[in-house]
């Protein structure tokens, strides 16, 4: 069965080619949609079959390498297009194809009537293809192909409605189109990719190979824990991860990426692509384990991002923006998990987050659809009567992300918080705990303002429940958001932490280098759990009282903390700071120095200068040509005489 792994990757490519080349001619939404979703669905089925086969096999024989063809061979460098099917990659494959399939199906309803319907499905399939390359690659180069490929698809899909105006949220209003948001995503990611590339060069220089297995098995022979080289390699890889996974300092593209169609936000900018950084670090866990300093930075940045984004999320009014900042915040959690050496906890949160965040985005999409492209939650309210299914599933997802047991988010988030406490520090845990409260608060602010309370929209709108093709994926994701956490019930709650055990062989090697502390007692785990449940419930209840019963109090709080409120509202002015500190200097220096100085002055100057010099010389020379034949004849004769004299003089 594992030999069919190549088809998991191939099928979405086939879907992309069919839809991309013939989609316009087919001119049938049904056909494009079925081909697009079908390919991903079959991939998912294959992945499930392989998972079952792996589960049956003994632990030592679960991982496989499936070689497809030799890709690059140059000198000592040989790179195969080969896929690594192991415990980690199969889990990620299931998430990508599974959630991807549901979102494809949902898109059939969401994109109905769009003139670029076939183009949308072609891009989505290409995205799945690239994402699977990223996940299944057995070497850095193929992973980088996927890494760049998903970036490209992200760019194409953010700018899918490239002619639409796009609200950046107060920053340079009214001028941006969605293609500006797409460019921003691409360029910011470029910075991270630069780090990834340099890290890859260093790895090849150090290890002489770019295959994961070679690199990780030789790591111990190459250096010891804390070596400077490992620090630089991992910090550069982490720079790549901050770009793709929207962490400080490169998170700025993700909120703007909401300019794309909502299924794209759900698939790429919440459930799958943005977790690529987390996956990459988990995959390179050996290298990161050898660089404790980087691990601390990863945890620190993750936590800073989690708090930072959550505070911004508190006050945003665009339904998708709230979810975008929530995504950044949750990604921060995952990095905390990785940073404290608990790679499995990070991956666990990737999985549960994929379920409930995809659900939240798809629910938001259904709302936006019903409200005729309205995204401002201040102009919603009372939608639960009109869209009961969406409301219920959205509510479940909000509970899950808030960390209310026994929903999915509780287990994964608590695992991370517990590890942050036992392996990290109290400060790390405290910030994580505060963020959990903030998360619960802003999610239920969103739920209350959108679905509950009195309607605040014009009566000429007629919100209605989405069609079945959209609600069924919502329901499935809703179920997954409820039960998804059961794959990782901790031992203290009577579970066996199945996911962690399943992933164990992948992270086994890294644990040799990690200085892990022994787990603290179960009683402290219970205590921490109780605290996180308390803060989650507190956040939920506070939000509901504030926005449903006493909206005037919310106003009062906002006006009495005007400074902080406007700081949050303006997203800490990060866009403005980047614009003033980086973008403007780069643009200005490019224009003044590089363009007008070096390009026009020196390069064009040299080319035009040589032409001018020739012109000037010629204008002097032409004076010699008088047009009188006898003058030429005299010159001719004199010339001959001179030559004759020289020749005779020599002989």
């Amino acid at each position: 069965m594992v030999n069919y792994a190549g088809y998991i990757v191939l099928l979405p490519l086939v879907g992309f080619l069919v839809n991309g080349l013939f989609g316009k001619k087919m001119n049938s939404e049904k056909l494009s949609g079925v081909i697009g979703s079908g390919c991903v669905g079959v991939s998912f089925a294959l992945a499930v079959a392989i998972l079952f086969e792996m589960m049956k096999a003994p632990v030592g024989e679960r991982a496989h390498i499936v070689e497809i063809f030799q890709w690059i061979a140059a000198g000592s460098l040989t790179i195969n297009a080969a896929y690594q099917i192991d415990q980690l990659s199969i889990v990620m494959t299931l998430v990508v194809t599974g959630v991807g399939f549901l979102i494809h199906v949902y898109s059939i309803g969401y994109m109905h009537g769009d003139k670029g319907f076939w183009r949308f499905f072609a891009y989505l399939n290409l995205f799945i293809f690239m994402m699977l390359n990223l996940i299944l690659a057995n070497n850095f180069v193929l992973m980088f192909l996927g890494w760049e490929g998903v970036g490209l698809c992200s760019y194409l899909l953010i700018g899918f409605w490239h002619d639409r105006k796009f609200d950046t949220g107060g920053y340079k209003p009214g001028t941006a189109t969605t293609s500006d948001a797409a460019k921003k995503a691409f360029i910011v990611n470029r910075i991270g990719d630069f780090g990834f590339l340099i890290a890859m060069f260093m790895i090849f220089h150090l290890f002489g190979s770019l295959t994961f297995e070679d690199v990780f098995s030789r790591a111990a022979a190459v250096g010891t824990v804390g070596d400077k080289t490992f620090f630089w390699i991992t910090i550069l890889l982490f720079l790549g991860a901050t770009g793709k996974s929207a962490q400080i300092p490169l998170f700025v593209w993700l909120p703007d990426a909401m300019a794309g169609p909502t299924p794209v936000s759900a698939l790429i900018h919440a459930a799958t692509m943005v977790t690529a950084g987390v996956y990459m670090i988990a995959r390179c866990s050996v290298l990161f384990a050898l660089a404790p300093l980087t691990m601390n930075i990863v945890a620190g940045i993750g936590m800073a991002t989690a708090v930072f984004a959550a505070t911004i999320g508190l006050v945003q009014n665009d339904i998708k923006k709230v979810l975008a900042y929530s995504t950044i915040s949750q990604l921060g959690y995952m990095f905390v998990g990785l940073g404290v050496g608990s790679f499995a906890a990070g991956i666990f949160h990737v999985i549960t987050h994929a379920f409930f965040k995809a659900l939240l985005f798809l629910g938001a999409g259904a709302v936006i659809h019903a409200m005729h492209e309205e995204q401002d939650i201040q102009r919603m309210g009372g939608l639960k009567e009109h869209m009961p299914t969406t409301y219920k599933t959205f509510f479940v997802a909000a509970l899950a992300i808030s960390g209310i047991p026994p929903l999915a988010g509780f287990f994964s988030k608590d695992e991370i918080l517990f590890r942050a406490f036992s392996q990290g520090s109290v400060v790390l845990w405290l910030f994580g705990w505060i963020t959990a409260g903030l998360t619960a608060f802003y999610m239920f602010r969103l739920v209350s303002l959108t679905f509950e309370g009195a309607p605040r929209w014009n009566k000429d709108k007629h919100p209605h429940e989405a069609p079945k093709v959209m609600t069924v994926p919502l329901i499935i994701l809703g179920v997954l958001s409820i039960v998804g956490g059961f794959i990782g019930i901790p031992a203290s709650l009577g579970g066996n932490n199945a996911l962690e055990h399943w992933l164990d062989p992948v992270f086994e090697r890294s644990r040799m280098y990690l200085a892990l502390l022994p787990d603290t007692s179960a009683s402290s785990e219970y205590f921490l759990m109780a605290l996180s449940i308390a803060v989650a419930v507190g956040g939920v209840l506070f939000a509901r009282t504030l926005y449903l019963r006493k909206p005037e109090v919310a106003q009062k709080i906002a006006s009495s903390f005007k400074g902080i409120y406007s700081l949050f509202w303006n997203k800490y002015f990060v866009d403005e700071i980047y614009d003033a500190g980086i973008v403007t200097p780069v643009v200005k220096s490019s224009e003044k120095l590089l363009w007008k100085g070096i390009d026009i002055g020196i390069i064009d100057g040299m080319v035009n200068g040589s032409a001018k010099l020739m012109g000037w010389l010629s204008s002097r020379m032409r004076k010699i040509q008088v047009g009188v034949a006898q003058t030429y004849a005299i010159a001719f004769v004199v010339g001959i005489l001179v030559i004759l004299a020289i020749l005779l003089g020599h002989s």
Partner: protein
């Protein structure tokens, strides 16, 4: 072989040829009438022919004489074209004074 030719040394031929050539050059450089200039060019050609024939006899080789035939054929063609150009110029400018025919400059 003709004894009278044998009697005249090669240097005589070359001397006459050189004198003719110099006269031709002087004519080309000093005269203003295009036809006279033209005739002087012919003179130079013929002086060269004389050299060729002289050497040919001296060396006992016919190569030089054959080359002379070629020169004469080319000279005839050149004369025909040259005169045609002079006539065309005269029709346009009513003069064949080459000082006044200086339109071929930039």
């Amino acid at each position: 072989m003709n004894p009278s030719v044998d009697a005249i040394p090669l240097s005589y031929y070359l001397g006459v040829s050189a004198i003719l050539f110099a006269i031709g050059v002087a004519g080309v450089l000093t005269r203003r009438n295009a036809i006279v200039v033209f005739m002087c060019i012919e003179l130079m050609l013929n002086s060269v022919n004389l050299t060729l024939v002289g050497f040919s006899a001296f060396l006992g080789s016919t190569n030089g004489q054959i080359l002379v035939f070629f020169v004469m054929a080319v000279a005839a063609a050149e004369t025909a074209i040259g005169l045609a150009i002079i006539i065309a110029v005269f029709r346009n400018k009513q003069t064949i004074n080459i000082d006044e025919i200086n339109i071929m400059k930039w």
